[in-house]
Amino acid sequence: MIGDELIQLVTPEGERVSSPDYESTLSGEAIFGMYRDMVIIRRLDVESTSLQRQGQLALWAPVHGQEAAQIGAGRALAPMDFTFPTYREHGIGWCRGVPPREMLRLFRAVSNGGWDPQKYRHSVPTIVLGNQVLNAVGYAMGIQRDGAEEAVMTFFGDGASSQGDVLEAFVWASSFNTPVVFFCQNNQWGISTPTSIQSKIPLYHRAHGFGFPGVRVDGNDVLAVYEVTRRALEQARVGGGPTLIEAYTYRLGAHTTSDDPTRYRIDAEVEVWKHRDPIERVKALLAREYHVKIGKFDEVAAEADALALQLRDDVLAMDRPDPITMFDHAYAEPHPLIEEGRREMIELGVSGGAH
């Protein structure tokens, strides 16, 4: 299933392996930091699923199983880089500094976005598959025109890999040599659609046909993801053009809380992937190689629990917005139908019209 091309620096058992093209540059401290990131993201993911089950969120898109792919990629970014996510990039959002409560505004259904994308240099969620990949290439064209040494990274999954927008983005990025990294998390399933009917070849092979490099990395190996992404971003920033990274991973949970994966995939497959857990292997590495004590791991778990409780409090405190706010920012400049709607809503008395 996983060919020789897969770049891996740490095995599922937590042992280092050598790769001909990459070696880890991370200190023990940095690895521990990524372990912490992953534990927190997983804990917040569990809390968010619970909040949805308790009727406090409209929906949740779990990231369970993909923590290494996102934290490895997210930590490889430079502050001035810009990212274009889907709706599942909670780990990337975390690395960019987006407060978890802001990431949950979409799922609490109090906002269509949730955070200030310029402040965090992390664009708002894109739900329509593949749209953001073209937007990212356009942003990268802007970087070229500004003469800036910055890169864009955009995220999509195996599910979106069949979308025309993604393939058009490959053409554009190649033809214009834009500073963009296409980060594809191949989590094997697009809701119930397996990767096998999305592509007859490994997804990263597609890049060669478009004229730029593609690389497949073990998406559950945070050290490997970090190195592969870091190099791709560095190349992009200095005019080296685009790279397609296929992070080979697995969606351990459901597509969203509305999904039931037991209808379309077998438990044995899930079990295989549980043995490749992205967090356990780093924990094993840290314990063996850096002699990190159990107490340190416990501290991280306690910190994650505290953040989860804080997130729960924050979500429960998120009230329904004043209905009149629906008219805010529909347009940047005055519009008669917006004024008409506002007026009607105030007359109907459903809002104080304070906005």
């Binding site: 976005g113 329509v128 073209l134 937007n135 802007g142 025109r145 927008d165 920012h329 400049e333």
Partner: protein, 328 residues
């Protein structure tokens, strides 16, 4: 007042040139727009003068033309996207509706989608299929977008510049059958605001409202009607979304009768919207129901028979007769 005579195509070219000169963040992107100058030559010479980084010959993929313009807008650029023909805008429809129209809202106002999507629209050039359509209602129905149409060289010159400077996304509909018609352009003063309707001919008996290529047809109808003793007031809507209803209301309150002209079929159309608004706002002034003269509810026909599809002088005058003869 400096005026000069030029074609609408040249006026658009000059308007784009002026926008490129004024603001370094303005870009133009589209298929065949560089060396060729576009299939209608609207961008003729602009790449030569402003360079390939600002006047961008794109690969042939409309969704990407608009989708990358979105990213450029986030980065602070103002891109004028050229869609080669109306019937080719649909691959970009997803980006226009899902991103262009919604990102300002989704980002709580942080992103400004200051981009213009130019679409040569309407028929009358004897083309083959997909080159003569009127897709304006699809965009007008989408909150977050604005739609305008120019009908004279002077409007073309000014409205393209006003659209580029506007902070909301503009679908800019150009009546391709009028590209080569000449008119006076005042290069010092804009004729009106971007969305303002303009009374093009004053009259007393029936208000006739339309936009784009229909303006010339409406003015011809008014000339013919005059010889028959009927006085038509002709209004060029210019702004399609939002509509500038005030001059229309004022006119209909005076005439009590109105006809709307458009090339699109009337189902869920701009004409239908105008009829609905004027029926509501001018109810007590109306002496007859408002009528629509539209394309028929068929795929745009083979163009050897397009003149029987497009509203012509006879069909407009027939509608005028009907509202004049109406007895309540």
């Amino acid at each position: 007042m400096a005026t000069t005579t030029m074609t609408m195509a040249k006026a658009l070219n000059e308007g784009l040139r002026r926008a490129l000169e004024k603001d370094k963040k303005v870009l133009i992107m589209g298929e065949d727009i560089g060396k060729l100058g576009g299939v209608f030559r609207i961008t003729d010479g602009l790449q030569k003068d402003f360079g390939e980084d600002r006047v961008i010959d794109s690969p042939l993929a409309e969704s990407a033309i608009v989708g990358t313009a979105v990213g450029l807008a986030i980065r602070g650029y103002r891109t004028v996207c050229e869609i080669q023909f109306d019937g080719f805008v649909y691959p970009a429809f997803d980006q226009i509706v899902s991103q262009v129209a919604k990102l300002h809202k989704r980002s709580d106002g942080v992103y400004t989608m200051g981009l213009v999507i130019r679409i040569p629209f309407q028929g009358g050039i004897g083309a083959i299929e997909h080159h003569s359509e009127s897709p304006e209602a699809y965009f007008a129905a989408t909150a977050g977008l604005r739609v305008v149409s120019c009908s004279t060289p002077n409007d073309a010159y000014w409205m393209i510049q006003q659209s580029i400077e506007h902070n909301d996304p503009i679908i800019f509909c150009e009546p391709k059958s009028r590209y080569w018609e000449r008119g006076e352009v005042d290069v010092d003063n804009p004729p009106a605001g971007l969305f303002d309707a303009i009374v093009r001919r004053e009259g007393a008996d029936v208000t006739v409202i339309g936009y784009g290529a229909s303006l010339k047809t409406m003015l011809r109808a008014a000339e013919t009607a005059e010889t028959e003793g009927v006085s038509l007031e002709v209004i060029d809507a210019r702004g399609i979304a939002p509509l500038d209803l005030e001059p229309m209301v004022k006119s209909v309150e005076k005439t009590g009768r109105f006809v709307v002209v458009q090339e699109a079929p009337h189902m869920a159309s701009i004409g239908s919207e105008i009829v609905a608004e004027l029926s509501q706002k001018c109810f007590y002034s109306l002496r007859a129901p408002g009528l629509r003269v539209s394309g028929y509810h068929v795929p745009y026909p083979p163009t050897r028979i397009e003149e029987e599809y497009r509203p012509n002088v006879d069909r407009i005058l027939d509608a005028v007769d009907r509202v004049m003869e109406f007895e309540s």
